[in-house]
Amino acid sequence: MFHFSGIWVRSLVLGVVLMVVVMFIIFPTVSYALDGTINEDYAAGKKGEEVDEAQYVADTIWVLFTAFLVFFMQAGFAMVEAGFTRAKNAVNILMKNLMDFSMGSVAYWAVGFAIMFGNGNGFMGLRGWFVNANTHVFNSLNWTSVPTLAAWMFQLVFAATAATIVSGTMAERTKFNCYLIYSVVITALIYPIVGHWIWGGGWLASLGMLDFAGSTVVHGTGGWLGLAGAIMLGPRLGKYGDDDKPRPIPGHNLPLAALGVFILWLGWFGFNPGSTMAADAPAIAHVAVTTNLAAAVGAIGAMLTTWALLKKPDVGMALNGALAGLVAITAPCAFVSPIGAVIIGALAGVLVVLAVFFFEKIHVDDPVGAISVHGVCGAFGTILLGLFHTEKGIFYALDKVAALKFLGVQILGVVSVFAWCVVTGLILFSILKATLMLRVSEEEEIEGLDFGEHGASAYPDFQVTAMR
């Protein structure tokens, strides 16, 4: 029974020996430099005596709990994207969602967090590589009491969200190796720089731009990078007929897509209420309520719009409408009243339908509607905060000039992020196109990326074994 070729044994032994040697020589030095003193962080809360101990514990519980919910959005995105694309590309989508989070975790640990929150200049942070929790180089996070590693965990899942959005718009035709490269670049560099501008004490933060939980920072970045990607890739084969009219390419599993949207909605209860990064009871309750109302009316708005236009209520659009409401309320959730949330969500629900039609028209092929949901509704929500902010917004503020200025800053922020993402995106994807082709061959696209990229099939038993 044990006729066993020696190759595995040998490679195993070799690997272990190699590892041990490497460890003994290199490891201790590197490791001490990076995090040798981490354990001292255990002795005292990051902020020492200044902070109320019970509040500190509650804040940390809250931030980690919400971070885990946001992590779960990875499953949501995977299901939405797999459901809304064809069976022959399902493995590829799943693999992309798994790997962007995995690669992104490493990239955001090594580089991204430092660029986003490390002390630096108005453009980017320059300290805090590999998140050494004991160095005090994250001044922009001083406002939250939680341990640096909890903050990192929470911010990581946001970075991964931005990256994973892109996989939707570029689905069903992008080479897997290109995907890995650009999702690392996004999590390590492009997204953290946007984040630094607005959340890390950068130039937009100085101007007073507000984006509570990331309509622009996260969703805008993801959406606009996805736009750049979709433009560089061109539409999927068969998306446009000889008449240049868009033809739908139906996905393969709407129950999965619906499950994904429910998971995302759940995740958003981490995304928005968690962005307090503190267990501030009235605030987190308020944010939960505005978030939920906007999602609800977003779904209703999109459903009614399709009902009016197509005579039937469309499930795909209703699902996207819920997401549109969620994305739009992400920036304003803590600053607007419930009624403000209802209006913002409803308009986003209508807007997302029009946006999907718009991008189809101009030959930008976005298989899951991510540009419309995340880019357009993200921008929309960020700008509408200038109207609905219950203190600074035009509809509420007493000082209308200041309010107009605030609105201006919001618009400036949206435009700057749009420009940054489209430009860096086009550069990045051009390089990938020049070097690695970016897009799979026509033959592979017809056969499906599951086979071409992974030699796999999402439902293999239905193909082979079902016949046994």
Partner: protein, 112 residues
């Protein structure tokens, strides 16, 4: 012997099977197919866009019988599977030269 191929509406399957058993049909083989014909496919909506599905789901019944009951089978199917609306389907009669039962190796009419 003849093979009678019937293309029918899926929800008629049970009725047709029961009616055929009564006229003495002992076996049949069914497969899921998509039909294209005078009955046009319908429009569906996907994420806000309409598109036409050209093919309509149908079932194909293959029934091998001795010549003598071919007419009876046809009549039965006509009676049970017809709704009078376009898309009820077709019956095709084709010749079968030999039938063999795998289990026993029997050939001809007794193998049906």
């Amino acid at each position: 012997m003849k093979k009678i191929e019937c293309i029918i509406r899926p929800f008629k399957l049970d009725e047709v099977r029961e009616a055929l058993m009564e006229v003495g049909v002992q076996g049949m083989t069914v497969s899921e197919v998509r039909g294209f014909g005078r009955q046009r496919g319908h429009k569906e909506i996907y994420r806000g866009s309409e598109y036409t599905i050209e093919f309509v789901p149908k079932l194909k019944l293959e029934i091998v019988v001795n010549e003598d009951i071919v007419e009876e089978v046809i009549e039965t199917v006509l009676k049970v599977a017809s709704t009078g609306k376009i898309g009820d389907g077709k019956i095709f009669i084709t010749p079968v030269e030999e039938v063999i039962r795998i289990r026993t190796g029997e050939r001809g009419v007794t193998a049906i």
